[in-house]
């Protein structure tokens, strides 16, 4: 099973951004999706460092894909999206707008923010040129199985959200700006203070979500420790790991060891708990009753099947 690093969802300083991608050249991942997913206003701060980061990753033997924005509305965002198609690197579409610019039959990837829920959609995307699809995180494992089979018949690789805060919603409104009493146009980049998103808790103190500018994420970090074997058997070819500010290289390494069978089921979750005792894990979208659920009730690693 391969590992793909998804696009960074947060607003990091250009220095942090650069060192993150420089570190990834040393990692054991197979593929890196790079670029701005959430907010076009962030892009000017690190845009000029993207080409260098791309070539270093390519030199290190990684596949590199460029992401589109998740929600394209403004004129300059349309232009940006059209330009991506001409960059000579595979594009991952996270807003269908990009299809207006990618010539029919030209290869592309589909990101988790495009609604791919059924075989007809997989077939249509494949006929249009899709070579790889990362499924929406809310899909249950039963759907993943059906779609992996359909994709296999069309020569399309299927990827599943493997780790990280789940992208739950995207909006025209910026919540970081709203929280600070500002409008989106005058946001003063409030989201920069929260490199992993800002925790949102209920009035009785229960964590529920995280805000990240115009995006809303889950409070918990998705973790597929308990589903990796199930997903592999279903024909899923890659897991997507979503960047986080601390300990990401180590996290990639843990997943590599888990998919290679060095770590048994449960050991990955346990290691995660040891390293980050304050974060909550979830895998409910795949196998639970709701997205927030976590099936690793015991702290003891269980035996590999």
């Amino acid at each position: 099973m391969e590992l793909t690093v998804g696009p960074n969802q947060f607003f990091w300083s250009a220095e942090r951004w650069e060192s993150f991608y420089s570190d990834l050249t040393q990692s054991t991942v197979d593929r890196v999706v790079i670029g701005e997913l959430v907010c076009s206003k962030r892009l000017p701060f690190y845009q000029d460092r993207i080409p260098e980061a791309v070539s270093r990753l390519l030199d290190a033997g990684k596949e590199v894909t460029l992401t589109t924005l998740a929600l394209v509305t403004l004129k300059r965002e349309l232009k940006l999206t059209a330009e991506l198609a001409d960059m000579g690197v595979m594009v991952e579409i996270n807003d269908l707008t990009a299809l207006a610019y990618i010539p029919n039959g030209c290869a592309f990837s589909v990101g988790p923010l495009v609604n791919v829920y059924n075989e007809s959609t997989v077939n249509w995307l494949a006929s249009r040129g899709a070579r790889r699809i990362c499924l929406p995180p809310e899909l249950p494992v039963e759907s993943v199985k059906v779609l992996a089979q359909a994709a296999k018949d069309k020569g399309v690789a299927i990827e599943v959200w493997g780790h990280g805060r789940l992208p739950l919603a995207i909006s025209g409104r910026c919540y970081h700006a709203r929280l600070n009493g500002r409008s989106k146009d005058n946001c003063q980049f409030a989201c920069e203070d929260d490199p992993d998103g800002l925790d949102v808790v209920t009035s009785d103190g229960v964590p529920i979500m995280a805000m990240n500018g115009v995006q809303t994420l889950s409070d918990s970090y998705a973790c597929t420790d308990h589903q990796i074997d199930l997903l592999r058997d279903a024909g899923v070819s890659a897991l997507r790991l979503s960047p986080q500010a601390d300990g990401f290289l180590e996290l990639c390494d843990l997943y590599r060891r888990r998919v290679d069978g060095v770590l048994a089921q449960g050991e990955l979750g346990q290691a995660m708990r040891d390293k980050h005792p304050d974060i909550r894990l979830s895998d409910g979208f795949l196998t639970g009753r709701c997205g927030a659920e976590w099936s690793g009730t015991s702290d003891q690693p269980s035996k590999a099947p």
């Binding site: 829920y117 009035s203 979500m209």
Partner: protein
């Protein structure tokens, strides 16, 4: 040209009430997971759909059938049957969101008019034209994230008719791209046609204060006699960064009544009212108001003053994203 009033109907009785109150067009859905308002006790079986459409046609109104959830892998035939049945029942158009279902409908039901649901969140002219060229989409329901200015710019660049929401519940998030509900309850608009479903809602009245929970999460608590919004996740009262309040959206509902003249200038074809889950009394009152407004506009008279606040969630209203400062 009078702007078209597109009105919701959750039941045959609401459809008849809407037609009688002056709706030009009614939208409704089958009583299963194929439509985005799959609520207990709502919607139409096949017989009701056929007679509802006949009733509307006899009174000169149109009926659009919403089949706007995303078909479940392995069970797509449920959605395919819904499209075929809508055509047989005489629907004037189907409202679709899913790429695969659009493709299926364009190939197998070429004569059936196709509208793009708000659940597809098509928010710019290029993607709208893409849907038109690829699947023959004739009308798009615009997501509630756009300003009037942006709507105007879209209409300048597309021949596809645009329909915009003017009244009712307000999604803060881009529609069809939100899984907050399934994160907390396991049921989502995209997969199950429900958001913050009643089956996962618990109310607790405690000494006059009312706690509303969704999937066990406390969404808000209101004091005695204060208005009580429905516990929708994006309109909850939460804390972040040391601040507490309605961090995403206040419990308000959309009322763009006053913006109708601007929306007409922006090239909008149809005005959509949200609320297939609301009663026929609500539907009739709202339709009467909006029909009076578009008729006044067409005749060059000033708009009548609206009296719709009591029908609204939390009894407060907003013009939403249509005014750019909302963002």
């Amino acid at each position: 040209m009078v702007m078209e009033i597109v009105c919701p109907a959750g039941t045959p009785a609401a459809l008849r009430a809407a037609v009688k109150a002056g709706a030009h067009t009614i939208y409704c859905g089958f009583n299963d997971e194929t439509n985005a308002r799959n609520f207990p006790g709502l919607n139409f079986d096949r017989t009701e759909m056929r007679s509802g459409i006949s009733f509307a046609h006899e009174h000169g109104a149109k009926v659009l059938v919403a089949i706007n959830t995303f078909p479940r892998a392995g069970s797509e035939s449920i959605w395919h049957h819904a499209v075929a049945d809508a055509e047989t029942c005489g629907a004037d158009a189907v409202i679709l969101a899913d790429l695969g279902l659009l493709d299926h409908t364009a190939r197998n039901h070429p004569g059936l008019r196709r509208h793009l649901s708000v659940q597809a969140a098509a928010a710019n002219a290029d993607v709208i034209n893409f849907y038109a060229e690829t699947f023959g989409v004739r009308r798009v329901v615009l997501p509630r994230v756009l300003s009037v200015h942006e709507i105007s710019a879209i209409n300048a660049e597309t021949d596809v008719e645009t329909e915009v929401f003017v009244f009712g519940g307000l999604c803060v998030m881009a529609e069809g791209r939100c899984s907050l509900s399934s994160y907390a309850t396991g049921l989502s608009p995209n997969m199950n046609g429900v958001c913050s479903p009643a089956s996962h809602v618990e109310y607790e009245e405690d000494d006059g204060a009312l706690d509303a929970r969704l999937g066990g999460y406390l969404i808000h608590r209101v004091e005695r006699n204060a208005p009580a919004p429905y516990p929708t996740l994006c309109k909850g009262c939460f804390s972040a960064g040391g601040k507490t309040g309605h961090l995403f959206e206040d419990p308000v509902s959309l009322n763009a009544e006053r913006l109708i003249p601007q929306l007409q200038k922006a090239g909008v074809t149809a005005l959509k009212i949200e609320g297939r889950q609301r009663s026929k009394s609500y539907v009739a009152q709202v339709v009467r108001n909006f029909r009076a407004a578009v008729d006044a506009l067409d005749a060059g008279r000033p708009l009548p003053q609206g009296m719709l606040a009591r029908l609204s969630e939390g009894q407060a209203m907003t013009t939403g994203a249509y005014k750019k400062t909302w963002r």
